[in-house]
Amino acid sequence: MIQRKEFDQNLDELRHLLHAMGDHVKEALQGAVEALQTKNIAKAQVIVKRDVELNLMEDQIMEIGSRLIVTQQPVAKDLRRIIVAFKISSDLERMGDLSLDIAKVTLRLEGQDLIKPLVDIPRMAELAGIMIDESLKSYLDENTDLAYKMAQDDDEIDHLYSQITRDLHSYMIAHPDNVQQAMLLILVGRYIERIADHATNIGESAVYLVTGKRPDLNS
């Protein structure tokens, strides 16, 4: 039988850690895109350096969740709470890696001027930031409506990514001497698009937590 008080305290701890991971990822994504826009090398370096903090929080979640499964043998929604914490922390950790990849693009572009002012990429990052907030809110509040709403935000991000890809392809055809930067900016779009997909996964986890069924919000 579960020792309710201790179990609930540990579940709260898992929730706090996931919340902190979410804040960390959002900050890393915004910081990485700002660093890219402003060619701020120092800022990009800080993001690369701080990624390890996310990994540590993910490890902590694995540790607490595994201990709860072994010692308390939870069932039903209690078990799903832990499974979902594992899944969400893994999504967030991956989102952190993708933000780090954006920061690395800034480092690789050191000394170069941007081929044009960035418009769609910051817009994508802004939407992805909203999705990160919403995904965690859908999990923390167990709000399935919000999880389904996020799938629509993801469609808009996919649309922006297609637009960026089209524009930069045209640019590369017109400027074959500067393909490298255009390629890197397409990759940045790809990284943000993947971050949004992971946010959608978190929404799916929230639905699974509440209903016990796994929807596919990415399709």
Binding site: M1, R4, V75, A76, R80
Partner: protein
């Protein structure tokens, strides 16, 4: 799966205490059904209703119907002895007779008229093999059953119940007095027996119900709150009281 037990609007009273309230359910044949719920919820009372063990408690009154294999077991023309041959029972504490291992198993068949030594030998061996005790005791069949360990005694009691070829085996917290290894052996044994017998078990160990039963029924205050496939009941219970109980919020 076909139901072998059909219970319809069963109400049971111990004098003025209303212990079972409008219980209706079908129990499938050749499967394991687990009854769970907090103490005093009626799960053991219902189990004892299935082979009329409650008849021995004065002041017991029953309304409603309990059918086994289509026969109303509370009708006047049903012989309780014949019913208990068809519906065997294993209790919380192993209760071997103070006799040899052999005589414990042969007791039931002898009572039902089997006299032939070779036939009795065969029943003893088959029953002990079915309860996975044969290899441990085959060279000591004349030893007292009381010399066996707790886990072995419980498997002996299962063998004794199987010796009269029942259709149904009732287990009332049959592993709660055993150590983890003996419990595991009984759980494995029960899993094997389900291909031939219908097993209904009462357990306080929810994880045992989750591990070995195909269907679980949750009782509260003499009522059935929820009955479902075990996998569903322990992953997505429909009633919040079931979720609260299996999550340790009460009971």
């Amino acid at each position: 799966m076909e139901p072998i037990i059909h219970i319809d609007k069963l109400n049971l009273y111990y004098s003025s205490y209303h212990a079972l309230k409008d219980v209706s359910m079908d129990i499938p044949e050749k499967a394991i059904t687990a009854f769970i719920g907090p103490s005093g919820c009626g799960k053991s009372t219902l189990l004892r209703t299935l082979n009329r063990m409650n008849d021995m408690i004065s002041g017991t009154r029953i309304e409603g119907k309990v059918q086994i294999g289509g026969t109303d077991i509370y009708s006047e023309d049903v012989h309780v002895e014949a019913l208990r041959k068809q519906v065997g029972m294993v209790f919380q504490q192993p209760n071997p007779f103070p006799k040899s291992i052999y005589d414990n198993i042969a007791y039931g068949p002898r009572l039902h008229g089997v006299r032939n030594k070779a036939e009795l030998d065969h029943i003893v061996e088959t029953s002990l093999k079915q309860s996975v005790l044969w290899e441990e005791v085959k060279n000591f069949l004349k030893r007292s059953a009381l010399s066996l360990s707790g886990g072995q005694q419980q498997r002996l009691c299962i063998a004794r119940a199987l010796a009269v070829q029942p259709d149904i085996l009732l287990m009332d917290e049959a592993t709660s007095a055993l150590d983890p290894i003996s419990t595991l052996k009984i759980e494995e044994l029960v899993q094997e027996l389900k291909d031939k017998y219908t097993i209904v078990m009462v357990t306080h160990n929810m994880h045992q119900a989750a591990r070995i039963s195909g269907r679980t029924v949750f009782f509260l205050n003499g009522e059935v709150v929820e009955a479902d496939d075990t996998k569903t009941l322990f992953s997505t219970p429909q009633d919040s009281r079931t979720e609260d109980y299996i999550s340790g919020r009460f009971g």
